[in-house]
């Protein structure tokens, strides 16, 4: 595989005046809560190492306060780390001159903020055009560029309103449009959909997926919504107390959680939508052509879809085929149902 778009190496961030000093303590093994109680410094990130491949969506998840926003802010150097390196497209962000950093932020990377951070004195259209304006685009370009995204996020008609006149979700969409309008290669999205209703959210998710597929954008996406993470994330990293506890694909994490923490984390997920047929199929398929009453599903189909087709066509067997149409395994209604039902469901609800 090509060089990753973003490489983070040994990144530490400690909030407080004597952060450099505290890095040593943390390296010696002082925990987040000890650091807070004994030294009044907050551990933001501890020894983060992560590669984010080009043209993919990297999802970051984790408990509230685990350092997700802190991490994403390092990627465009809104925060100076206490130690470590951040390399984007082969360039060390932390070594950039002020000018280089400015150019980098203008053209290469853009961001949606968790708390929106709109410019309260600018109308919706001026907010959205802000990135273009900073680049020095002409008024007309700014306007068309902004309007395109305003319409896309469903705020047409509100161009001349001020942020304070919008609902929370509308404000979030303004922030989204603002980040998308600059057409940067890398998008940093800090809980960018948290205030959206399911309909608009699904719509925005497809916008992101399209962007990533068609324009090969690299997207770093923080979310608390597992279903969203699983739908969007090519790769998922899970943080806890400033450390990465697991990285991998959605499947890997749902099916093989690294520890108790992660398994409780993913317990809530709608497994039918994550787990793919080949993950739970019986292999190898029995020799010979598949049974009459077996439906054919492609590799990569999620269980819910398999279940839907089975019930629609009133069958209770399926065979999974690979790209070239050869059967690679079989499924029964029972195995599908087992895959969909959460093993630990009982204690999860109430």
């Amino acid at each position: 595989m090509a060089e990753p778009a973003i490489k983070v190496r040994n990144l530490y961030k400690i909030f407080g005046r004597r952060d450099r000093e505290m890095v040593e303590k943390v390296k010696e093994g002082v925990s987040k809560s000890e650091l807070l109680a004994d030294h009044s410094h907050v551990l933001g990130l501890r020894d983060i190492n992560i590669d984010m491949p080009e043209a993919s969506i990297q999802v970051v998840m984790g408990l509230s306060g685990s350092g997700k926003s802190t991490l994403i802010r390092h990627l465009n150097r809104l925060i100076e780390p206490s130690a470590g390196e951040v390399i984007v497209h082969g360039e060390d962000v932390l070594q950039m001159s002020e000018k280089a950093l400015r150019e980098f932020r203008r053209h290469k990377i853009s961001m949606v903020f968790q708390r929106f951070a709109l410019l309260p004195h600018k109308t919706v259209i001026d907010n959205v055009a802000y990135g273009l304006h900073v680049m020095g685009k002409s008024k007309a370009e700014q306007k068309t560029g902004a309007m395109r995204w305003i319409e896309r996020v469903g705020l047409a008609g509100y161009e001349d309103n001020y942020p304070a006149q919008l609902s929370g979700g509308m404000q979030q969409r303004v922030g989204l449009a603002r980040a998308l309008a600059t057409d940067a290669d890398i998008l940093l999205m800090d809980e960018a959909f948290s205030a959206l209703d399911p309909l608009i959210r699904t719509d925005m998710q497809s916008v992101l997926l399209d962007l990533q597929k068609e324009l090969a954008k690299t997207i770093v996406f923080i979310t608390h919504d597992l279903d969203e993470a699983l739908r969007l994330g090519d790769k998922i990293a899970i943080l806890r107390d400033g450390e990465i506890v697991q990285q991998g694909t959605a499947q890997e994490i749902v099916l093989d959680p690294a520890d108790e923490y992660i398994s409780s984390f993913v317990r809530e997920v709608n497994r039918g939508r994550v787990i793919q047929a080949e993950t739970i199929m019986d292999t190898p398929p029995p020799p010979g052509p598949p049974a009459e009453n077996s439906i054919r599903v492609e590799k990569g189909t999620v269980l819910e879809e398999v279940a839907r087709r089975m019930t629609e066509q009133d069958r209770d067997q399926a065979h999974v085929v690979n790209g070239s149409g050869e059967p690679i395994g079989t499924l029964t209604m029972r195995s599908v149902m087992a895959g969909m039902a959460t093993p630990v469901l009982k204690d999860a609800i109430e």
Partner: protein
């Protein structure tokens, strides 16, 4: 020791006075030209122009009509010429104070060191009694418009510097972070984010600068600036209270016209504030 300092200052002012005077010459010429313009243009043209400026800046019928009435009354009470003289120098002083003061305030807001260095200077400018430097300035520059302008600007500039500094420092960190994230240059951040968001505080600075400038009209008249200051002083020595009050009110009227116009203009730049009211 005092004597030698005094002597040296005298020697200095004799040696350099002319050079400094020449330096200020263009400004003086401009001041004289502007004063003459205001005085020699027929009153109704001046009136019309002032009222028009007020209207375009403030877009407020109330303020415009108020200005009109105030100027008419000033004319009726025979203070037109003095008022024009005061208007002329105060306009220049206020603009100068703002034009010089705002950049200083901005610079101060960017560096704690600079702030620590400039603050005491501002303290001196505001509290060192002007009587103390009146005579040295006069020795250097003679009496007249230039020393008057200096004295007024020295006193009127600190508020705009301080409040620009404060306003910018109070701008929401989150919003600034967003501006940074899009790669705004220092200048873009300033013009697009910091100044607009600190506008209410900066406008308070402008208000105070206008007030201070007009508060110095009388002091300026002690060193040869013609205008409304002198009748005030004469009224005192003659104990003509009414004359004093009338001329004082003319000064106040100029202050209010300047202030309301600039404030209304500032308000128009902050439409987003009204928007948030339910």
């Amino acid at each position: 020791m005092s004597r030698t300092i005094d002597q040296e200052y005298r020697a200095f002012s004799r040696a350099w006075g002319d050079a400094i005077e020449n330096f200020f010459r263009p400004l003086l010429d401009f001041l004289l030209w502007f004063e003459n313009l205001l005085i020699q243009t027929p009153w109704w043209i001046v009136l019309a122009v002032v009222v028009a400026i007020v209207w375009f800046a403030s877009r407020s019928v109330k303020i415009t009509i108020g200005t009109f009435i105030a100027l008419i009354l000033i004319g009726v009470f025979g203070m037109w010429e003095d008022t024009m003289r005061t208007l002329s120098i105060i306009t220049v002083c206020t603009l100068l104070s703002i034009v010089i003061g705002m950049p200083i305030g901005i610079a101060m807001s960017r560096s704690n060191k600079l702030q620590a260095a400039i603050n005491p200077i501002l303290d001196v400018m505001q509290t060192m009694p002007s009587f103390v430097y009146l005579i040295p300035i006069v020795m250097l520059l003679g009496i007249g418009l230039i020393p008057g302008l200096l004295v007024v600007v020295i006193y009127a500039m600190p508020p705009i510097i301080r409040l620009t500094n404060l306003g910018i420092r109070l701008v929401d960190k989150e919003v600034l972070e967003a501006a940074n994230a899009f790669g705004s240059s220092g200048w873009q951040k300033l013009v697009e984010v910091q100044l607009p968001l600190s506008l209410p505080t900066i406008m308070a600075g402008i208000n105070q600068t206008i007030m201070m400038a007009l508060a110095m009209v009388v002091v300026a008249s002690l060193i040869g600036v013609r205008g409304l200051g002198q009748p005030v002083l004469q009224a005192i020595t003659n104990q003509y209270f009414t004359q004093g009050v009338l001329n004082g009110l003319a000064i106040v009227a100029i202050a209010i016209i300047f202030d309301r116009t600039s404030q209304a203009y500032g308000k128009r730049l902050q439409r987003h504030r009204e928007a948030s009211h339910g």
